[in-house]
């Protein structure tokens, strides 16, 4: 028996197929993963992501602590409510986790980290926080629901209380705001517009049911994965982990190199790697032959070492298989992938396949 979110019984009652996810019993789908995927691209779907770990950092030195802890520069957050996507690195430049940090007050920042890495993250953060006198406070009693899709905003706003509704309606992308015990952010992991809402756990079922009644489709973590893959968003543990740096994981853009004097954990190792020129790069693949790309399949490039698919699957929006892959730096526009004993042809693309319901790659 795994851990259960406040919505566990609701998922069961709604016919979800439940699977183990990092020690939690979570819905993988409610009937058809592909239908749920399409609903998020075309309408609105909701995901129970209460298994994710919410950590508040409280103390007058919170900002300087985050300057040290995170590879992206927390000083990009000057407006209250603004969010930043970043990696948290070890001294070797390996990725301990990727996370979102929200600036709430000068003495209060909120992190949302992965559940699979919860223990390691909390340990690391607490260890680093001591020198700064910052309190690390987990918020296990917050439920978290992501509502995503082109109609997500219209379907959610009428269900919020007045203060949250006003604030949510005015939120710019990648901002969040707290009213009462609710925190509403215009963020997500699907490549569509929408909200991620943290709320007291005892209100999660009522809110979920109200959204269901308002035409928001319950969606499992199965389509969350195909949606994020189409959006070209990394999955921790598949696309990167402590053994690789952001520079070979397509996450160079999240590293806050300037100012030069900001000495974040892993900086020295990253600079060495950058100056030597990384031997690998992170790309998207579109399969041209029939078949399905899967994690860990071998990518073959003429005259170079083998690469590897880090996330592969079927794209319901494009109707073909796509993947994220770590490949030799000299990889050109084409490669082959070893799929069940056969070599299949794939095209190398920038790793964003679908955004806001629209294909970002040309299909043959």
């Amino acid at each position: 028996m795994g851990k259960k979110t406040p919505l566990y019984e609701t998922h069961q009652a709604m016919g979800a197929k439940l699977v183990d996810f990092a020690g939690w019993d979570m819905p993988v789908h409610y009937g058809s993963q592909i239908e749920e995927h399409h609903t998020v691209r075309r309408d609105a779907g909701m995901f129970d992501v209460s298994h994710m770990t919410v950590v508040d950092l409280v103390g007058s030195e919170a900002r300087s602590f985050l300057r040290h802890l995170l590879a992206n520069n927390v000083d990009k957050l000057q407006e209250k409510g603004k969010a930043l996507y970043t990696c948290m690195l070890n001294e070797q430049g390996g990725v301990i986790d990727d996370l979102i940090v929200y600036f709430l007050e000068e003495s209060w920042f909120r992190l949302v980290v992965n559940s699979a890495t919860r223990a390691r993250d909390l340990d690391w953060i607490a260890g680093q926080a001591r020198a700064f006198g910052v309190d690390v406070i987990e918020q296990p009693h917050l439920a978290m629901i992501a509502i995503q899709g082109p109609k997500a905003r219209d379907k959610v706003l009428p269900l919020l209380d007045e203060a949250n509704r006003q604030a949510a309606a005015d939120l710019k992308p990648f901002y969040g705001e707290e009213h009462g015990d609710w925190f509403v952010a215009r963020t997500g992991y699907t490549g569509e517009d929408g909200f991620e809402i943290m709320l007291p756990e005892d209100q999660a079922v009522g809110f979920w049911n109200a959204m269901k009644d308002n035409g928001v489709q319950p969606c499992g973590l199965g389509c969350r994965d195909t949606l994020r893959l189409e959006a070209g968003m990394n999955l921790y543990g598949s696309d990167m982990d402590e053994s690789v740096s952001p520079l070979v994981s397509g996450l160079n853009w999240t590293v806050g190199w300037s100012p030069q004097e900001r000495d974040f954990i892993g900086r020295a190792a990253l600079e060495r790697q950058r100056d030597a020129g990384p031997k690998e790069k992170f790309v998207g693949l579109v399969l041209e032959d029939k078949g399905v790309l899967r994690n860990h399949q071998k990518v073959m490039v003429e005259g170079a070492a083998d690469g590897e698919i880090t996330s592969g699957g079927f794209s319901p929006t494009l109707g073909c298989s796509i993947a994220l892959a770590r490949v030799p730096a000299q990889t050109g526009e084409r490669c082959q992938v070893e799929v069940r004993g056969r070599l299949l042809a794939a095209r190398v693309v920038k790793p964003s396949f679908v955004r806001n319901g629209k294909a970002q790659v040309e299909l043959s």
Partner: protein, 129 residues
């Protein structure tokens, strides 16, 4: 609860076999199997004329989750394959015992189906797994 029609025979690898009047045998994967796999996105069937041995991996069904081999429940020669699945793999999810059939075999022996389970035995097998 998965559907298990009484007129079919079943293998422990979750394939079904239907004896047709002309002596051929139609093969597919069971409703239980498709439910476990999730939405199918790709199906690979053998060539016509291919000789399959019993328990030979002779087809592949790939779902949103993973790829799975399909094992021939009996030995025989492939005399027809379901070409429509190339464009409509979801037929296996929607109608595992009808439109979602995979291939038709000419069995090597006349009592080929005798080694397979009937619906009651398969039901028990699924529950015990």
């Amino acid at each position: 609860m998965s559907e298990m029609p009484g007129e079919l025979r079943y293998s422990s690898n979750h394939e079904w076999a239907r004896a047709n009047d002309d002596g051929s045998v139609t093969i597919g994967i069971t409703d239980h199997a498709q439910d476990q796999l999730g939405d199918l996105v790709y199906v690979e069937v053998p060539e016509q004329g291919h000789e399959v041995a019993a328990d030979e991996a002779c087809a592949v069904v790939e779902s949103v989750k993973a790829a799975s081999d399909v094992y021939a429940p009996i030995a025989g020669t492939v005399i027809a394959v379901n070409e429509a699945l190339a464009d409509k793999p979801e037929a296996v999810n929607q109608d595992a015992y009808g439109e979602g059939w995979l291939m038709k075999l000419k069995p090597s022996s006349s009592d080929a189906l005798s080694g397979l389970m009937d619906a009651d035995a398969y039901q028990e097998f699924v529950e015990s797994e």
